[in-house]
Symmetry: C2
Subunit: 762 residues, 2 copies
Amino acid sequence: MDKYSVIGKSVPRVDAVVKVTGDAKYTADLVLPGMLYGKILRSPYPHAKILNIDASKAKKLPGVRAVIAGQDTPGKKFGRYQDDQLVFVDQLALAIDKVRYIGDEVAAVAAIDEDTAQEALDLIEVEYEELPAVFDPEEAMKPGAPRLHDHAENNVGLVLLRHFGDVEKGFAESDRIFEDRFVTQGVTHLALEPHAALANFDAAGKLTVWSSNQNPFPDRAQLARALDMPEGRIRVIKPHVGGGFGGKVEPLSHDVCAALLAMKTGRPVMIVLTREEVFTATRQRHPMIVNLKTGVRMDGTVMAKECKIIADTGAYYGVGPNVLATHGTILTLLYRTPNVKYEGILVFTNKQVCGAQRGYGNPQIRFADEQQMDMIAEALAMDPEELRIRNAVQSGDITPIRSRIVSCGYTECLQKAMAKTGCVQKRGNLPANQGIGIAGTGMSSGSKTYNKPFSSGALVELQEDGSVSLFSGGSDIGQGLNTIMAQITAELLGIGLEEIKITVADTEFTPWDQGTSSSRATMFAGNAAKLAAADARRQLFEAAAEILEASPEDLDARERKIFVKGSPGKAIPFVDAVRAYRAKRKQPLLGRGYYDPDVERPSPDGEGNISPSYSFGCDVAEVQVDTETGQVKVSKITAAHDCGFALNPMAVEGQIEGALHMGIGYALTEEFFREEGLTLNPTFLNHRMLTALDMPEIESLIVEPVDPNGPFGAKEIGEGTLVPTAAAIANAVYDAIGVRIKELPLTPERVLTALEKKGGRE
Amino acid sequence: MDKYSVIGKSVPRVDAVVKVTGDAKYTADLVLPGMLYGKILRSPYPHAKILNIDASKAKKLPGVRAVIAGQDTPGKKFGRYQDDQLVFVDQLALAIDKVRYIGDEVAAVAAIDEDTAQEALDLIEVEYEELPAVFDPEEAMKPGAPRLHDHAENNVGLVLLRHFGDVEKGFAESDRIFEDRFVTQGVTHLALEPHAALANFDAAGKLTVWSSNQNPFPDRAQLARALDMPEGRIRVIKPHVGGGFGGKVEPLSHDVCAALLAMKTGRPVMIVLTREEVFTATRQRHPMIVNLKTGVRMDGTVMAKECKIIADTGAYYGVGPNVLATHGTILTLLYRTPNVKYEGILVFTNKQVCGAQRGYGNPQIRFADEQQMDMIAEALAMDPEELRIRNAVQSGDITPIRSRIVSCGYTECLQKAMAKTGCVQKRGNLPANQGIGIAGTGMSSGSKTYNKPFSSGALVELQEDGSVSLFSGGSDIGQGLNTIMAQITAELLGIGLEEIKITVADTEFTPWDQGTSSSRATMFAGNAAKLAAADARRQLFEAAAEILEASPEDLDARERKIFVKGSPGKAIPFVDAVRAYRAKRKQPLLGRGYYDPDVERPSPDGEGNISPSYSFGCDVAEVQVDTETGQVKVSKITAAHDCGFALNPMAVEGQIEGALHMGIGYALTEEFFREEGLTLNPTFLNHRMLTALDMPEIESLIVEPVDPNGPFGAKEIGEGTLVPTAAAIANAVYDAIGVRIKELPLTPERVLTALEKKGGRE
C-alpha cells in the first residue's frame, strides 16, 4: 500500500470540470441586480498638468449615472507593501493636478451599459498642459531631465545600499574579477483573465468588492486606505481568477473607482479592463540595468560580488521598493558568497508603473549572474556546471544575509540535469549553430517583506452528513492551490478529494491569509490546511478511539474509515465517528490551523531570513540559431527543480511548463514597443506571446529533498522555475554561435548585430 | 452600571437599514448570468387522471428552453419529517398519473423570461379524465366517498391514539363532564415574500439552490430525496426571507422543479410563485374538528380530558402526521390533567395540502380548550381566571406525557393580565354588547419530532482586524434571529453589535442547524451562539490574562476592552488580545458552540419531553359587538407572555404584535372560500388580512421567569403568542352578547345566526 492515498498523486484540479465547461464564474461573469458598468478615462499624454475637467456633457448623456474625477475621491494615496513606509505610497484612484504616463487615470463613469460609459468618456473635456517627458531611466537620472515627482530629485525614488562582509577585501583576495552590464526589458503578465472589479455598497454602509485579485485581505487594507473608510466595513471576495502572475497582487484604480461609483450611485458597479488597458495601464515587470562584478579564485571559489541595479519603476513607486529589497536574498541565495555589496536605484520615468511579476526581480539578476558564471567558467577553463557545484549553497547553510537554507536540492538538480542532458559532453561539440546552456535558480517560499501578518489560517469542519468544509483565506489564482489544500485535508482525514467543500478567499468567511504572492501559497495556506486537518483528525480519532476501544495514536484513516493500525477490520465509518463526536462532545468537529513561521522582515541593513524555506533548480536549454535570420529556436528545455515533496506531480509539471512558456517568451520575444510613452503593441499577438506551437519539447525533472518546514515536505514551485530560462537560453546561444548577448530579449536583430560585431572583430 | 451592555436592550434589527432601503436581497431579487425563468402548470381539476401530456407545441415556442412533466423527474417522493416513516412521504415534484387538487403540479417550463414561460404553459396540452372529488373531511370518511389514495381507505391517512393515565377512571371521579365540538378553518400564512427558488447546476454536478425557506439543512435532505442525488452534492442557501410562519418549512415542487430545469438546461433557473400560487398551491393551516370532553370536580380540579380531532390534511400528507403527534404535548401542557386520551384522524380531501403554520395545531386545540374552560367556570360559578390558576402547571411539573416544565410563568401571566385589565371585575359588568375574555397558551421552545439532529451549531471567529465573524446555520426568516445571535455574541465579547459579521444559513458555510420551526430559533441557535461566543471569550481571556498578569476568571469584557474586574484601568483593547492570542497560540481564535439538549422524540405511545423548555401566556381581549351587523370589533388586547429573559424587548413586543395580527385575523376574518375545490379568494384583500387600521390597541406584558435552559434565560416567543387569541375573543364575545360561537372565524354571519338562535331559544 502506498504511504499516501491522495497526496503525491497526479490528480486533476478540483475545479477542472467547472473551468473547462465555462461554469466557473470569474469576476467579469458576475451579475448583480441593477448593476451599472464603469469605464475609466485615461491620460493621452505621458506627462501633463490637468488644468480643468468638464464632465457636464458626459453627465447629461442618457444612461450615465455618475462621473467622478480626482476631486470627487477622498484623495487618499494607497499602495501595497508600504503601510509603514508612507513615503512610498503614491498611488491615487484618479489623478489630481497631474498625469505622469499615457494611461494614468483621470476620471471614471458609471452608466447603464459599457457602450454608454465609453461614449460618456468621450464627452469628458479635459484641459491639459503638456509637460516634457522622459522614458529612459538613465536619461531620467541626468540633471535637467523632466521631473516626475517633487520629492524625487533626478527622478530617483530610492537608493538602497547594502553590504555584507567586505567586498573590497573579497575582490583583493580574488584572482580574477569579472564585470558586465546586463539589460532586461519590461513585459506584461499575459494573464488570460483581464482585471475586473464589481463593487456593491449597501445602505448600511457596507462595501463588498468582488475582484480579480491575488490577496483579498491585504487588498481590503488598501481599499480602506484609498476610500478612507474602516476595514471592517469592507468585504473583499476573490471569485475564480484566470491567472495573476503578480499582476493582481495590489488593488488598482479600477477597484477603487468601482467602489466610489457604487457609493455615489447606490448601485452595483462593474469595471472590466479592456485588453489594451491590461497591457498599458496595469503593471509590468521592472526593466533593469544590472551591473555585476564578481571576484573568484583560480579554483573557481566566488570571493565577492558587487551589483548595481538601475530599476525603472515607471511613473509611480508601485511595489518597486520591495522588489529592490528582495535582491539581497536573491543575490546570495544560490552560491556561497562571503562578501556582497548591492546598490539598487529606483528611477521614475513617464511610463506605466512596474510591479510584481513571477520571479519578483529574480529573473533579471539571474539573467546577469548565470551568464557571468558561464563567462567565469570559460575564463577559468572549467565546466560551467563544475563552477556552479563548487559554489552551490547546501542544506544547513546560513547565507550572509541570514537566509536559513533548511533544504537545498540545487546540487542534485544540477547533477540530474547533467546526467539527463549530457550537457557537459555536448557543450562545444554540437553541430554548427546548435548549442546547449545551463542556468540555476533559487527562490523563497514566501517572503516576509511588509508589516501585515505573514501568516495563513484555515479551518476544517467535519459536517453531520460526513462532508468536510475547508475554509481558507488562501487564493487560488489558477495555480491549483484549492486542489493542493483539498489533497492535504483529504489525506489526513482519510476521505476522497471530491468530499471536500472549499470556501476560500473571502474576507468575511475565511481566516486571515496574506494571499498569493512570493510563492507562499502551498507553504503557507498548505501548512495552515494541514494544521487544521490534523487538529480535526486528532479530535476525530479521540471520538473513534472510544468506540473502537483503542488508543487514538493507534488509529489511522483511509477510505472513509477510521481503523486500528494493523487491524483494518477494527474500523468505523468516518461519518459515524463525526456523529459520535458531535453527540458526545456537543461541539461542531472543527480543526484550526494557523501557519505563522518564525521568519523576519529584512532589517534596515537588509539582513533577515524572510522565508521558512527556499527552492532551487536549473534549466538546460538546447537551441538552434539561424545565422541568416538571427532567429533563435529552442528545441528542448530540461528543467530540474527542487520543489520538496511533490504534493501533486502533475501540478508541479504544469507550473514548470507554464513557467517555461513565460521564460522563453521573456528570453526571446516578449517586450513593449513604445513611442514617446505610447505603447504600440498592446495585444497578445504583438506582445509576441508564445503559442503552443512555439513551445519546445519540455522535460521536467522533479527533485524532492523533503523540506522540514513544508507541508509534507513541499515547497515553492510557482516562480523559481521561470527564473533561469533566459540565462540558460543565452548561454546556449553562446555555445551555438559564440556570441554573448547581454540584453533581453534575444531578438533576431540582437543576434545578427552580435554576429556582425563578432565577425567584425575577428 | 447595567448588568448587560447589549442584551436585554431594545435594539433595532442588525439588518433594519438594508431592509427598509431595499438593499436586502430576497430570493426573487437574485440574478445569475444566463438565468432562465420557470413556471409551473397546475391541475385545473380537483381530482383527475392524467391520460396524456403533449408538450410539443410548448417546446417549439421561441425562448422556451425546457419543458418537463412527471415522467421527466426521478419520480421520487419527498416530504419533511417523515424520513423514517416513508409511508407518509407522498409528495411528487410533478404529478404522475393523477392530480388530487386544483393547483397540483403537472408540468414545468424554463424560458428566457416569465412571459414566455407563461405562454408556454398555455401551449401544453394535458388530457385529463375527471374523477369525482370530495372536499369535506367528514364526507370524505364516509363509505363510497371518492378515494384520493389507494393506500387510504375512507381517505383516512392516519389514526393516532394515545392514552395517558385512565380517562374512564378520571371521568368516573369527576363531578361534572363537559363535551363540545369546535370547528376551525384553514388560513394561509400571509408572508409578504412569495415562495421562490433559484437553482444552479454546474458541470461538476453540484447543485446550488437559493430558496425562500426556513430550514436549509433539512431542505437539503428533502431535495436530495426528490432529486435522487447525494446530499453532499447539494448546497442550499437561504437569502433574506420575508416571512415564513411555517409556510416555508419544507421544500415544495417549485424548489425541485427549479433544480430539475437547471439540470436539464445547464442554466440557472428562477421560479417565483405568483401570489395566487402562494395562496392556492403552497400550504395552509389544518382545518380541524375538535371534539373535547373534560371532567372536573366541583372545586374546579380537572380530572380527565378526552379529545378527538379530525384534521383535514388536503390532498397529501404534508406534515400532517407530525402536527397530530404534537397534540399530546399541547393538550397536557397548560393544565394539570392526570388522565388524557387523544384520538387524531388525518383525512384526505381534494384541496390544497395543509402544513406547518405558526402554532402547529396549538391554536385549534386552544380555541376549543380555552372556551370550554370558560364554560366550565361558568357552570361551576367560578371566575375563569380562578379555574385556570387552580389547574395551571407550575415550574418543576412533569406532565403525563413527560414534558419537563423547567420554568413556567403561566400563573404570573394570568395574574398580571388580571391586574392590568381588571378582567375579573369587568366581566359581566361592561356596557351592552361589550365584553372581555381571557385565554391561555403554552408552547414548546422547539419540538423534537423527527429523526434529523435536533441541534444547532455556531462558530465565532475573532479576526485579526478586531472584527468578529459569527457562523450559524440558524435561519432568520424575518423574526430577528440574526439580531438575537449578534446581541448574545457582542455581550459575551464586550463589543458592539455593529462589529459582528453574520454568516448564516448556508449548508456549505455554516454548521448544521435544524432551522427555524417549532419556535426553536432563539433557544437553539441562540444557545449555540452563546456557547460559541463563550468558548471564544474563554480563549481570549486566557491570552489577555497573560498580558494583564491576572487570572482569566478575574477578567471581564466591555466596550472593546478586556479588563480586570474591579480595576477597569487594568485593561487592554479587545483587538490587542485577539492579536496576542494569534501570535502566541498560532491558531485562529475561534469559539465553537453546539446546542443539543437532552430531549426526546415522542415514543410510539406519545410520551417524551420534546423540548428543553416551554413558554406560557395569556391574552385578554376586549370586544364590542354590533348586534345589527354581527360585526365583532376588538378594541384592545392585553397580552401577557412568559418568554423568559427578554433578550430584545422590542423584538418580543414585535412578535406579540405580529402574532396578534395573525390571531385576530384567524379569529374574525381570514378563511379560504372554495367552490368545488377552486379557491375564490387568493388575494390579501379577499383572504381578508387585517390592515394596520383594523388592529386594536395592544398592550404587551413581558413576564420573565428566567429559564435555566434558555440563552441567558430566554425562551420561545414566536408562536405561543398567537395561540390564545381566537379563544380570548370568542370568550369576550360570549361576555358581550351571551352567545358561544364554536366555529372559526367569528364572522358577522355566525354572530347573527348565533344571536338568532339565542333569541329563538329564549
